[in-house]
Symmetry: C2
Subunit: 338 residues, 2 copies
């Protein structure tokens, strides 16, 4: 049974007591790695991934046999400002596509053995236009955090959180600008493919949002409430819950990372259980990754969202763990060490 | 039944009539991609991979359900010059490890559904020390090319060729220096982990080899004969055969790319059916990739060989093809296009 958050204070309090990686399991994994039939370090980043996973899962031979992919969907009031190349109804249409199995994330989840679910959050009730008012009130933010919090399967051994929400790169850009500084123009990108005029509108909308909520900027959770979206807040909630459950998370692109950034700014180190799955083609994503201190596993110019880049990285983690768990040691194989 | 090469002239002749990608299949794949439920271009490099695979497999929806991994193993006379951190007997020990299922490539092959086989080539008969004589005579080169040629499964839908051979980064460096110019020091790296003194010895050995075979440098196939190894020549043969069978190939690291480079220098465009699976941590590998005009799919600091980096990239190709083949179109999903 999941115990939902009763208040935003509950959420803030939960972040004050975060579990840390199991040092003994990491040491055991490192010792095992040193005995595997390969030159030391020859599997490069795969070795680091295996040891890191060992720490979070608390075992010498970590696994990624039960990855979970959860997609959160929400609608955004700022879409009325012309910030997206697609109309708002595409959010609900894409949710139907997820349920029918027709989206990219369905194929990637199936390919890499992940269970996938979709959580649509009040699609008929977009957030308020954040240039005019806070996107959500406190109760709405809490409800969205809880949707993410409760969506995490405690039995999952790896988590990907993805999103769908026409207009949400604008919201993500506003969150990044508020938490990392700079103007709208430095954080907006083409999203699903806006033209130059759309890009200019996005930057202006972000700047208007920053002005409207200048008083919130010192408090990351209020930034999320004022400038975020329901699906973004749900990702924030899910990433936090995964930490409490010691489930490693693979972060996706710009929007997912904006949700994660809220946690990191609330409590430094809150994303220690997260990998950067990929560097996306959305302009500002590399800068968010740099701010989070995360090196992406993949860099394949994806800019789709839906958790697609992170889902692709599941395969790399699985490859790393297959090597770590399945390889013979020098002793077992009777091979001379270098 | 495989028709083996009767002579080196057969091999040269085979490269004069190479099949090209199926333009109609590529156009069909591109048209399909444009209809899939995502913004145009949003799957980035995955889209290019799917269209490229369509061209080589000659179908709108290419597959990677039967990937083949072949590991070639050979021994090198130059090991006597102290160019490796591991003794030569490790080659045969690692072959036993491949057969027992204990190496990294076994785990990766299993994880991504590839059939894997090992071809050991005269391990008790190392190539000659190339600082003194051609590494192979013509008959030995032909035999090695044929081992690769015959190892390719005509039913495979994707091929990875890997290698094991203590000393073979020295051989690969010599091939690259001969075909791309420069001195030994510019092409040698730490391989399985030689120290500074070993690195200096490797560079000197390469320079000695280049001097000894200066007359061969204008003919890539003679370069392979004089400076290569049996497993390297087998990879050259396998990559060429795959082209004739229109089977796409994922190239591995520095040694595999040196084998591929021989083909590219024999006939420009001979590697059009090859992807670069990864950029390895071996010093000169990025420069070989640049010379081949190939952008690596992954960059995870692997430096193991065995086809491991390429095998990991199988998963990315599979992810790309799963999306391309399995996603709904806008029409099927009833979604408004942007």
């Amino acid at each position: 049974m999941t115990i939902a958050l009763q208040s935003l204070s509950d959420f803030r309090a939960a972040l004050q007591a975060l579990p840390v990686p199991d040092a003994a399991a990491m040491a055991a994994a490192r010792a095992r790695d040193a005995q595997l039939t390969k030159p030391p370090g020859a599997l490069g980043r795969l070795e680091d991934l295996a040891v890191w996973m060992a720490g979070w899962q608390g075992r010498e031979k970590p696994v990624a046999d039960r990855p979970q992919v959860v997609i959160f969907a929400g609608n955004h009031g700022v879409v009325a400002k012309g910030v997206s190349a697609f109309p708002a109804e595409v959010t609900v249409q894409m949710v139907a596509n997820f349920r029918a199995g027709g989206a990219a994330i369905n194929q990637l989840s199936r390919q890499f053995g992940a269970q996938m679910s979709v959580e649509e959050i009040d699609l008929d009730r977009p957030t308020r236009d954040f240039t005019q008012a806070p996107a959500m009130d406190e109760a709405e933010l809490l409800a969205a955090l809880n949707r993410g919090w409760e969506a995490v399967d405690p039995k999952a051994d790896l988590l990907v959180v993805g999103e769908m929400g026409i207009g949400n790169t604008t919201s993500a850009a506003a969150i990044c600008a508020a938490l990392l500084g700079g103007e709208g123009a430095q954080w907006v990108g083409r999203g699903t493919g806006v033209d130059d005029a759309g890009l200019t509108r996005k930057a202006a909308v972000v700047d208007d949002g920053l002005r409207c909520h200048a008083g919130a900027i010192g408090d990351p959770l209020r930034v999320l409430q004022c400038l975020g979206g329901r699906e973004i807040a749900a990702m924030t909630g899910a990433i936090a819950r995964a930490r409490l459950l010691r489930i490693p998370v693979i972060l996706d692109g710009f929007i997912c990372c904006s949700a994660a950034l809220v946690l990191e700014r609330m409590v430094a180190g809150a994303l220690d259980h997260c990998l950067a799955g990929h560097e996306s083609a959305e302009t500002a994503h590399p800068r968010v990754l740099a701010a989070l201190g995360k090196e992406p596993i993949l860099s394949l110019r994806l800019r789709l969202g839906e958790g697609s880049g992170a889902a692709l990285a599941i395969a790399i983690v699985q490859g790393a763990l297959a090597c770590h768990g399945g390889m013979a040691t020098f002793g077992e194989a009777g091979i001379a060490e270098g």
